[in-house]
Every structure is written in structure tokens, then in C-alpha cells.
Symmetry: C2
Subunit: 248 residues, 2 copies
Amino acid sequence: MKSDKSHHSDLSAYIADDIRNAIVSGELDVDQRLPSETELAEHFEVSRPTVREALKRLAAQSLIRTQRGATGGAFVRKLRFEDAYDTQVTTAALLLSMNAVSFDVACEARFALERACAPLSSTRRTADHLATMRAEIHRQSQPGLSDEAFCASDVAFHRALVDGAGNPVLSFQLAGAVEGMQPLMNMITFTARSRARIVELHTVLADAVEDHDGHLADAQLAVLEEYTRSLAVDVMEQRAKAVLQKSE
Amino acid sequence: MKSDKSHHSDLSAYIADDIRNAIVSGELDVDQRLPSETELAEHFEVSRPTVREALKRLAAQSLIRTQRGATGGAFVRKLRFEDAYDTQVTTAALLLSMNAVSFDVACEARFALERACAPLSSTRRTADHLATMRAEIHRQSQPGLSDEAFCASDVAFHRALVDGAGNPVLSFQLAGAVEGMQPLMNMITFTARSRARIVELHTVLADAVEDHDGHLADAQLAVLEEYTRSLAVDVMEQRAKAVLQKSE
DNA sequence: CCTTCTTAAATGTCAGACATATAAAAGTTA
DNA sequence: TAACTTTTATATGTCTGACATTTAAGAAGG
């Protein structure tokens, strides 16, 4: 950790960068304690509030955790997949909404990535993953389900499929693609008929995964993608029609 | 934005969550100005430093930007794909190193995801993407290249392939998988022979993409994955041997 | 009308203080 | 001696009030 800064405006950002680099480069190990806030303040020649702002930046990225008390301080945090999950989903959702990503583009990305998992999941899925998929299918066929609950169940189903690949890196990456897309999916209104169709597709998909048939699973996801996109098109058309009628 | 907090220890985290929810839910629009720090302090009934710590947390996630001066303040920031890129890569790299993810697992995830892009890229790649791929192949065949530079060029090549799919969501997701894996890839020492082999594989891959042959591109990536893994195995074996010799 | 000066509002930074949590050391008692 | 209690030191969490700096808009002057 060097201290240069000189004429930087936003010292806390500079200090955060400096410490972050030390963590990423491995200069600071997991669970290692950082110097106390007072010591950091002296080292960087800034005040304690400024150091604290820098530490909060790092905490926001789950790079450190803090403990109060006598042996307390800031410690390099072991970044777990679960920790990165939430941020990943939030970021993906914001990216989609703020950049006006079309349903088609998001859908394409999501299914392309998911299809990458299908063959692996067909090989490795445990009974547990399969049971989750079946349970979610069952929930999706319940009549009184709200559109949002249906969507949530859909996400749970696909997540089980992805997790079935048994590769935490894949699961992490897919979190953003699948869960982050949920807000977009929530725009769709699922009629009884479309729900029945989706349950049907999901069932074939689950069957394929159960039979270790990666090719069928992949093909089924392609069908599901096409159907999902057609549903979105329907919704858009209906909305356009509603706007037209209103203006008459 | 409600104020409850009650007995929360870590007010800045609570406040950051509160504002973050307002942004994610769309309650606050892009480029909308947040209340001034003083006003936020009054609203949440905390001091200004505490508010500032909360704002720095949000800034660390690129959710807000701040401007100084008379009309300054904190503004909801439009999260761009480029902004999320760096964080994505850093997070992925840290996840791999801190969770002792094996080369095989990371490699499998990376190539599975990349293969998801191959068919799309074969259809849509522009001349630009192709030119980048060719240029990187050329660089990789230069003799005096360091292992790190070779790796960097490899990343650039694959990134061009992914970008060829023309789907920013895919490109964003793959950034983590491909670039985040670079530290792991840097462990490999590339001999002249293995470099020649990789250049060869890359060339066939580029040819396939040029010919809009998605199937061949996909197959070629599978070959490349297998070869990459075999290289890693070689490195591990040599290291194990070195350790044995040392202990004799 | 244009330029320059002033002013006000906001963030950026600082210093010093107190509150609180926590583990280890010191003290106390059975 | 052993177990429990109290004290103490150290760290983060928070507050107050102040000053520095940046910046846009209004005021003053040519």
C-alpha cells in the first residue's frame, strides 16, 4: 500500500482502490486484519471519517467485514458465491432496466446461457435437483397462483436446473441472467392456457434431465425460449392495441 | 423511503439499503437528484457523516454519482455495461481465488458459457470482430511474447468472439467468466509447441466464425477446452514432480 | 450586451469527542 | 485452586461543528 494521492479529489475512493488492489493482488490474505482506522488515517495522512468512507466502499463490495470490540477491526472477507449472488442479481436487473434492454435480447442471453448448463445438468443432477424441479412444476399447475408467484416458481425451477450442473461458477453467472431478468418476465401475464403449455414444456424438460438426455433438454429449452418470446410479443401487441383504442 | 431502523447497528448500511431499494424499484429515476446530505441526515435522523458513509456504499456499486458545487448533489447513475464490467471481473477473479475453485471447474464454466455464444457469433459477427480475432491470432504467433501477454491476447481473442454475438447481456456475463479466469490461466506456461497448437485451434475457430459455421465453432471450442485442461494437468504434474525432487 | 465579481449551496475534509461492543486482564469469592 | 465478576483497554459506531473547495447563478460594472 503506497500513499501518493497528491491532488486527487475524492480521497476515500483513492484509498479504497489502494486497499482493494492489495486484496485482489493477494497482498492481504483472507481473514487478515487491516490496520485500525486510526492507523490507516495516519498512514494515508487523512482523517478517520475519510478512512471510514473508504472502508464502507469496500464493505459494499463484500471485500471486508468489520468487528467491534477490543480485538475488532476490518478483516479481509472471504467472498462466497452466495455473497456475490445478490449483487449479481441486482446489477443485472438494473442493467436491463436502465439500458432499455429489449425482452428479446435478455431472453436470448438467458436461454443461451442456460442451454450451456443443460447437458452438464443432465449428466450430474442429483435426486434433490430433480425433486425441486418437479415440486416447482407442481406449484406452477396450481390454479390460484398469481402471475408473480408463477414467475418466482419459474425462476426456482430454472435455478434448480442450473444448479444441477454442479458447477458453482456456472450457478453464480446464471444468477444474473435468470433472476435478474425476473422484473422483465413479470411484465408478462400468464393465461391459463399459456401456463398449461409452460408446465407441459417444463415436464418434458424435467423428464429429459431425469433420463440424462442432454440433447433433448437443450432442444426443449430452445422450444421454451421460442414460446416465451411469443408470449412477450402477444403482450406487446395487446398493449399497442389498448393504446390505439384509447386514442380513438 | 421509510425510516424505521430502530435498533440497527450499522446505520449507514441500513440507509444505503433503503436508498438502493428506492433505486432498484424505480422509485428514483435515472439522473434524478437525491436530497442533499443534510436533508438526508434530517430525514433519517442521523448525522451527516453517517449519511455520507451510506452514499459511499452506493457509489461503490456505481448506483450514484456525486457532483460538487451549487447545483451539485448525489444523482442516480445510469448503470452502463462498461461500468459493471470491471466489478464483474474483479468479483469473479476473487471468487475463484478465495474459494479455491479448481482449474477444471472454472474452465468448464468458461467454455460452456462461451460455447453458448459461438452459434450466435457465427451468425452475427461483423467484419470488425473477425479482424480483431485475426489480429490477436497474429500476435499470439509472435515468438518473443511473454506468457502473460499471450494470455492477455487469448482473452482479447475470446472476447471478440463473444462480442460477435451482438448481445450486450451476453458480453457482460462472459466478462466475468473469461477475464476473471485470467489469473488462473496465468499459471500456465505456454511452450512454443502448445502455442502453435493454440494458434492452430484459434485459426480454425476464426475460420468457422467467418464461414458462419456455428456447429464447427462450437466443436472447436470443445477441442480447445480439452486442450487447455490437458495443459493445466501438465503444469500440475510438473509442479508435483518438482516438489518431490525437492523433498528428496 | 458582455464581462467580472460576489454569493450561496453543495460536497469534501478535518478535529475532537462520546457511545458502545468486546475480549482480555484483574479482582473476588466459594 | 477454580469459577465467577469486575475492570480496563481497544476498537468501531456515531455525533457535532467547523472549514475548504467547487460550481452555478445572480449582481455589479464597463
